[in-house]
């Protein structure tokens, strides 16, 4: 019936699309025109299944023009992602090589425009064009390897979950700690000597003191015997164990993972945990987990580093421990340990290091005759460290806050003392690898070593007259968090700031406006939107273009809702999601996006030994590109939410 040849213009158009991606980019325009004239353009919506594993092969192979398609396999009824295809990727090409059924299933992840290329067309090409043949054999070989790799990984993972104890501790963050089940307990009124005997007979380092119904009352460990019995003069051996036991004992429920336990150890600084039926002291003991159980298999371990930091006696030692922590970070990142876990660990480690640096400085000053004045004070971490997000050792951002002294003389001496403290601590941090802040936002700068009234003058000014420059500067100060000294003082400042914002709500609008300064680069993968400055040409500023828009948004919302806890971006989003149900879904998306970015930046920074801030998009793998693209959509949504909420379209620059 058809007497005419296909439309040149349309064929030309499709050929141009096709020719952008391999292997068609190596073909002559004429060849591509021929292919284009044979294909169909398909549009599919999110969630559509294109083909299923085991199904008879169709007549087409597909190229993604827009959108994304995931290829997955099913093992034991669970789906395992094998590949993610986006712009320019071909899939369903196995058909060309004689297999009869699909080896994987394909599902559209986001609305997609696909070119369906007849298998016959590709077969012909493979025969007539050596470069195309090479492309396909290479791609097939690679993808077969890839599939095998992904599958073996998935199977390994499953196996290790089923057989606890195999593999490395870190690889199995989700591994449940093997508890000691035959817990030996003793009654509270038996003599200490008897308890010691039971412990040595059973060769155990601790014993739970329990009531008759086996409800735990306390715990006695080797350390207790050493410190409270042996080292103490007089006859104590006959006294009841209840005299020396640590009470109450820290109780948890069974089924805790290694990650949970490491967190718990770091947070509580305890070494023994008692498992009871419901996790309280009101039910019988069913197990015990000791530091030893958690630590034994792993040499480099956050709890060990934590202990070493707390017991450091010199700056050199402190610096060495921070180096060890860096190694740990590498291991964690390489093993894909959850980022919230990593950032919690590193916040604790960095905080401990700062505390130690302050203790060293105070002790040194005391030795030199400079006494700590009796004024309530607080060491503040600012910016990313304030948000508990500093994984890499980027610049220092810190400050000192102290209670206003009563008279002029003590005001001056306080300022002198705290400034000196700031300088010393900052120097120790430099020795531990935390570079000084180029903008000098440090406690060693008199401007940022202030009494409460001084700080509130700043904040009042920023809130009252939010000019752009002050705003940009102030974003860092709004993320303060007490690390040493009086948390109450920091909280007091936070409340005053919130009250100040409450008074002049116009500030939030400007603050929100500031959060929109960096719109997400939506055309990211079409023509890499890269930074223009010379040094970082062709690179993408992940901090300014992706992280700041999110952390800024979270900060504004946290301010609006008067959140007084010292939270990071991820927690801020989650908290706001609870407070603002309409935002719940998006805030969870934003939280996850931010975690991804933290990981990406850390990975990159570790690899390049840099701050990780500038990334060459060409070096991203497909998963990362996919994730980044989704995340720009999320940022866009968060920004338009801010725009709407604060009616920013009405504010002129």
């Amino acid at each position: 019936m058809q007497t005419t040849t296909p439309s040149n213009t349309i064929v030309e158009r499709v050929a141009a699309d096709l020719g952008k991606y391999p292997p068609f980019d190596r073909l002559s325009l004429d060849k591509n025109r021929k292919i284009a004239a044979s294909l169909a353009v398909e549009y599919h919506e999110e969630g559509e299944i294109l083909f299923k594993k085991g199904e008879q092969l169709g007549r087409f192979s597909y190229m993604v023009m827009k959108g994304a398609v995931r290829l997955f396999d099913s093992i034991d009824g669970e789906e395992v992602l094998v590949d993610l295809c986006d712009e320019g990727d071909l899939f369903g090409v196995r058909a060309i090589f004689g297999t009869s059924a699909y080896l994987l299933s394909a599902q559209v992840v986001e609305e997609s425009l696909l070119l369906a290329i007849p298998v016959e067309t590709i077969k012909e090409l493979v025969q007539s064009e050596p470069s195309v043949a090479a492309f396909f054999t290479g791609a097939i070989a690679r993808s077969v390897q890839h599939i095998e790799h992904s599958l073996s990984e998935a199977i390994d993972m499953r196996r290790s979950l089923m057989e606890p104890g195999s593999g490395s501790l870190l690889a199995n963050e989700a591994l449940v700690v093997d508890q000691v089940r035959n817990v030996i307990t003793c009654e509270p009124d038996i003599p200490i000597r008897e308890a010691a005997r039971i412990m040595s007979v059973n060769n155990i380092g601790s014993i739970i003191v329990a009531a008759e119904n086996r409800h735990p009352l306390g715990i006695i460990t080797d350390t207790d015997l050493r410190k409270k019995v042996v080292a103490v003069a007089g006859q104590v051996n006959e006294r009841p164990v209840s005299d020396i036991m640590t009470s109450p004992v820290y109780t948890i429920t069974a089924g805790k993972t290694v990650a949970d336990m490491m967190m718990l150890m770091v947070r509580t600084k305890l070494r023994h945990f008692c498992i009871t039926e419901d996790g309280t002291t009101d039910t019988p003991v069913i197990g015990i987990i000791s530091e030893h159980d958690i630590v034994t298999s792993e040499g480099i371990n956050p709890a060990v580093i934590m202990k070493a930091i707390m017991q450091s006696e010199s700056v050199e030692q402190l610096s060495q421990e921070r180096e060890k922590a860096e190694k740990l970070l590498r291991v964690y990142i390489a093993q894909d340990v959850a980022i919230h876990f990593i950032s919690n660990i590193f916040t604790e480690l960095n905080d401990a290091l700062i505390v130690k640096a302050i203790e060293f400085s105070v002790a040194d000053m005391k030795r030199e005759g400079i006494d700590l004045p009796e004024i309530e004070f607080c060491w503040l971490s600012l910016g990313s460290e304030g948000r508990k997000e500093q994984l890499l050792r980027t610049d220092q951002d810190n400050a000192i806050l102290y209670r206003d002294p009563e008279d002029e003389a003590s005001r001056e001496s306080a300022q002198r003392f705290f400034l000196e403290l700031g300088k010393r601590v900052s120097a120790i941090l430099v020795a531990c690898g935390f570079e000084p802040c180029p903008a000098e936002i440090m406690a060693s700068n008199p401007a940022w070593c202030q009494p409460l009234s001084g700080w509130m003058n700043y904040f009042r000014k920023w809130i009252g007259t939010p000019e752009p420059k002050a705003l940009m500067n102030s974003t860092i100060f709004f993320d303060f968090r007490p690390v040493y000294g009086s948390t109450a003082l920091a909280l007091e400042m936070k409340r005053q700031i919130n009250a100040e914002i409450e008074r002049g709500r116009g500030f939030l609008q400007f603050f929100a406006k500031n959060a929109l300064q960096n719109p997400p680069p939506l055309g990211f993968f079409r023509n890499f939107l890269v930074e223009k400055s010379r040094e970082h040409a062709h690179e993408f500023d992940i901090k300014a273009r992706a992280m700041m828009p999110l952390s800024d948004a979270a900060r504004v919302l946290a301010c609006e809702f008067g959140v007084t806890e010292f939270l990071g971006t991820v927690e801020r989003f989650r908290r706001i999601g609870q407070l603002l149900p309409s935002f719940q879904e998006l805030s969870e998306e934003a939280a996850q996006a931010y975690e991804f970015l933290m990981r990406l930046r850390t990975e990159h920074g570790l690899a390049e030994r840099s701050s990780g801030r500038y990334i060459d998009p060409e070096h991203l793998n497909k998963m990362q590109r996919q994730e980044l693209r989704d995340l720009f959509t999320t940022i866009g949504k968060v920004q338009s939410m801010l725009n709407l909420r604060y009616q920013l379209d009405y504010i002129r620059d």
């Binding site: 058809q2 005419t4 296909p6 549009y43």
Partner: protein, 232 residues
Amino acid sequence: MIELVRKIQVSMRCRKGLLPESICRYVSLFDHPLQRNTPLEEVRFVIFDTETSGFDLVRDRILSIGAVAMNGSKIDVADSFEVLLRQEAIGGKEAVSVHGILKRDLNQGLEEDEAVCRFLDYLGNGVIVAHHADFDIAMVGRVLSRRYGIKLFNEALDTASFAKRLEKGPYYNLAHKSGEYRLDNLCERYGICLYDRHTAPGDAYLTAQLFQRLLAVGRKAGIDTLGKLLLK
């Protein structure tokens, strides 16, 4: 009724050999009209666009026709069509500057009657889809009635109205903000890259992509047969 009479007249003229073969073949396709309950997957849609020398139905002429077919939900590039028309009475310079068709190009085109016959051959009994379809259909209809005394028998759908119907419901008054449903705006709204704008085949291809997406939206609203699509 009038329709039936017209068709009978055309058939008679065909039997007498008064009309070209293409025209007769085209008309005979409508002896058995498409069933309302035909699933959309089995319908051949022909998305088309014309470039004209102006917007006056009487004075202005078609300069080119571009079309691409959608079988079910697939745009079939092989099943596409493009023709330039050699027109003596070419319109003002403005039209040329919009679509970039020069007199020189048109001289290489086909005569109007041959071009339209070829288009009918290509079109067959497919369902016509066009953006602001009335105008394009009327332009082709003028040629057919002038030359052969017939009209287009195909079912037709306007993507602008279809989009409006899906987004706002059938009773939305567009009168005061027609710009919202211009092809460019719709393409932007549905994430379709604009290129080859203002050439007949280029616009036809864009319209086809738009229609493909609208159909997907429509399917969710339960539009799965030709009857539901055409509101008949």
